[in-house]
């Protein structure tokens, strides 16, 4: 049934009626509408997944909430639109969503030929392998001849093919439509290996009936920088999304958290004063309220808080910060300064 969405979006673009209105000025449209339309996954724990009360939770969801806090002053004003891997770009191109925050890898093809812009990196990921422990395999180089469950419509198919070709190994791709079916195929023993971005492997592993029966191999075979995506040609909105993410990263660097930011509102530190909107350019350049960055941290938290809550040690996934630590702590997360 998800295919209907794709076809509907394609048809919408073909007829092109509702499209022109939304392509022009997304920020104004969002403000007038009163909520942000955010494309998310159909359910990947830690990134975007509805909890038992139906509230969306996760790292990608927090990015959407940050954007809503910056633009509308209220992080809860987000409408989440679950999309599968195939329909996500069409939904964004056709104006069905304002921002796509859905474990999407930044690549040359996507950035240059789809009419889209990537607004930064929320998570530095890489493709890995999930394997049944009792096969006794310790390295991906031992996987010659294995059959492999892959979720369709992702860059993973290409990466896996490239890796096996490079190492002169063969494999049998079994391509499923959704993450759930991929896991089911793996559990049923159809494949020896399940391949996906490593972060998703952690998330999928806890969906197995016996998570301890499977392990993640050490090899990472690709670079997968994941980030929010917007339509090309709307630079004002592109800036808003980009800087909402930068604000979260800068907040962690400055030591601002959702708990302590109220106490630091009158801080003498010029960086913090600029951050909370007491000094400097404030929100004028972005077309936002002066306290836009304050709202993000107050309502959503800084990057580190969001990471710990959704992916890190305070979550069931328990993923190490690794590459996603701040640049001054050995990772890659680096944001241009707010000044």
């Amino acid at each position: 049934m998800k295919k209907m969405g794709l076809i509907a979006a394609t048809a919408a673009m073909t007829v092109g009626l509702s499209v022109n209105a939304s392509a022009a000025d997304t920020l104004a449209a969002v403000k007038e509408r009163g909520f942000v339309q955010c494309g998310v996954t159909t359910g990947v724990p830690g990134y975007s997944n509805p909890d038992d009360k139906g509230n969306w939770k996760g790292m990608d969801v927090d990015v959407c909430r940050g954007i809503a806090a910056a633009t509308l002053g209220d992080a809860s004003k987000v409408k989440y639109i679950p999309l599968n891997a195939k329909e996500r770009f069409t939904a964004l191109q056709s104006g069905e969503i304002d921002v796509l925050s859905r474990v999407t890898t930044w690549t040359l093809t996507r950035d240059s030929s789809l009419g889209l812009n990537f607004a930064g990196v929320t998570y530095y990921d890489g493709q890995g392998f999930l394997i049944n422990k009792n096969l006794g395999v310790k390295s991906a180089l031992e996987l010659d001849g294995a059959s492999m469950c892959i979720q369709s419509g992702t860059t993973t198919e290409l990466n896996a093919a490239d890796y096996f070709r490079e190492n002169k190994m063969q494999f049998e791709p079994v391509v499923f439509d959704t993450a759930d079916q991929t896991v089911k195929g793996f559990e049923a023993g159809r494949c020896d290996v399940l391949t996906s971005d490593q972060s998703q492997l952690y998330a999928l592993r806890i969906k197995l009936s016996n998570p301890n029966s499977a392990m993640i191999l050490p090899e990472i075979i690709s670079k997968e920088p994941l980030g929010p995506v917007v339509r090309q040609g709307d630079d004002a909105w592109f800036n808003v999304v980009k800087w909402s993410l930068f604000a979260m990263i800068n907040a962690e660097e400055l030591g601002l958290t959702s708990k302590n930011i109220d106490g630091k509102k009158n801080s003498k530190n010029p960086n913090i004063a600029r951050f909370v909107g007491a000094e400097g350019i404030k929100g004028t350049g972005l077309g936002l309220a002066d306290n836009w960055a304050y709202n993000i941290v107050k309502q959503v938290g800084n990057y580190g808080e969001a990471f710990d809550r959704n992916l890190g040690m305070n979550s069931p996934l328990k993923i190490e910060r690794g590459l996603n630590a701040l640049w001054n702590k050995g990772g890659l997360q680096y944001a241009p300064p707010i000044r």
Binding site: K3, L6, I7, A9, T10, M13, T14, V15, G16, V19, N20, A23, A85, K86, F89, T90, Q93, T109, R110, S113, L114, G115, L135, L143, D144, G145, A146, S147, C149, S152, G153, T154, T155, E157, L158, A160, A161, D162, F164, R165, F171, E172, P173, V174, V175, F176, D177, Q181, K184, G185, A188, G189, R190, D192, R231, Q232, G233
Partner: protein, 397 residues
């Protein structure tokens, strides 16, 4: 009076073309055609404009780019370095494969079940009606999942494969069979087969003619079977058995070599067959019941036995009723085969409208081509069935 008579021809000469219904109709129809073409043109124009203004690449140049991804089952040569255009044909052939297999099996099973439903044997007819009622009332997607996951769970891992016949292995990865390797001289065996088929054709013409003239019957079935099976076997033996088998061998994770039927194909085939056959069974039953009982009685009264009554009287008339709805079922089966994508069978929708679409991002072109394929396939099938229908139709003199 005379003035009236003079008036009328001059009036008809002066009739304006909008007062002439035939010309008026032509005018309105051309206006409509222009409007429709204009609307289509506007949509195309608008789409191209929208795509361009948003910096989205258009065109079919992507078809010659390298695809780079693997496909589990391909009827033609395919590797990661093949082009996106080739993925289209791989997907198309896989769709055709499962459709053709499904149509053949569904037709056979449907006819058996349809006839069984009319059986006088209480058990057989009840089993057949239970079959029809159960399988046509469960959504196809759920049946596909059932056959796929239920069967997968029941099968052993490659290292504990079942081996019902020597060198044939069944496990969760599929059915592995020895692959025939054709040696020198195998061409003669194939030639012998075709010679036998041609010979059977002429003998059957001769025997029909002889029956028409003399009334004597010739044991055609046994002659045909003997020729078609016997002649190639004889040649095969004379040529010194030019055929070897390459057996699959367990190596590492799985079997290598031999031929494989992947479980996705099997599950999809079974599900499509069972689902569509339930509808075909009803069509067959209704077709047979549409032949009036008087015909059967009249045939029996002529002294024909039950088999001949069925073959010479009932079936030729029933087929006329059966063919048109049967066409719809074939079309349904072809289109339903696109549900393959749910269980990872690499059909057109999964490979081309799935992976290729995602890697190139050219949704409009890819979806357009995919829709065109299903449209073309459906039109071809219905053209063929219409031709067949005209051939079978009652010839009235």
């Amino acid at each position: 009076m005379s003035s009236d008579a003079n008036k009328s021809p001059s009036a008809s000469q002066k009739t304006r073309f909008w007062h002439d219904p035939a010309k008026r109709a032509i005018l309105f129809q051309s206006l409509l055609v222009i409007a429709v073409l204009g609307f289509v043109g506007m949509i195309v124009q608008n789409t191209l404009h929208n795509l361009e203004s948003r910096g989205i690449t258009t065109g079919f140049a992507f078809l010659s780019q390298e695809a780079g991804f693997g496909i589990i089952q391909s009827l033609i040569d395919y590797s990661e370095s093949s082009s996106y255009g080739r993925t289209f044909f791989v997907g198309l052939l896989n769709t055709l494969l499962v459709s053709v297999l499904g149509i053949i099996a569904a037709t056979l099973l449907g006819f058996i079940m349809g006839i069984a439903r009319l059986s006088n044997n209480w058990l057989i007819s009840k089993v057949a009606s239970a079959y029809v009622e159960i399988f046509r009332n469960i959504p196809l997607l759920i049946q596909i999942f059932f056959w796929y996951f239920a069967v997968l769970r029941a099968l052993p891992s490659p290292r504990q494969s079942l081996e019902p016949i020597e060198n044939i292995f069944i496990n969760v990865r599929g059915l592995y069979m020895p692959e025939p390797i054709y040696g020198d001289g195998f061409g003669w065996v194939v030639a012998a087969f075709f010679i036998a088929v041609v010979a059977v054709f002429f003998i059957s013409r001769w025997s029909k003619k002889r029956q028409d003239e003399t009334g004597q019957r010739f044991p055609m079935l046994w002659t045909a079977a003997g020729l078609i099976i016997g002649l190639p076997l004889l040649v095969y033996w004379v040529m010194g058995s030019p055929l070897t088998w390459e057996a699959p061998v367990l190596k590492g994770f799985n079997f290598r070599g031999g031929m494989t039927i992947i479980p996705e194909l099997a599950a999809l085939w079974v599900a499509l067959t069972i689902y569509t056959a339930a509808f075909i069974a009803e069509i067959v039953r209704s077709g047979i019941e549409a032949v009036s009982h008087g015909q059967t009685e009249a045939a029996s009264a002529l002294g024909l036995n039950r088999g001949k009554v069925l073959r010479l009287v009932v079936v030729p008339q029933a087929v006329r009723v059966i063919i048109p709805p049967l066409t719809s079922q074939y079309l349904n089966l072809i289109k339903n085969s696109s549900l393959a994508t749910a269980i990872g069978y690499p059909d057109l929708v999964s490979v081309f409208a799935g992976t290729t679409l995602n890697q190139t991002g050219q949704a409009i072109e890819v979806i357009f081509m995919t829709m065109l394929v299903y449209l073309t396939l459906s039109l071809l099938v219905s053209a063929f069935m219409n031709w067949f229908n005209t051939r079978m139709a009652l010839v009235e003199r």
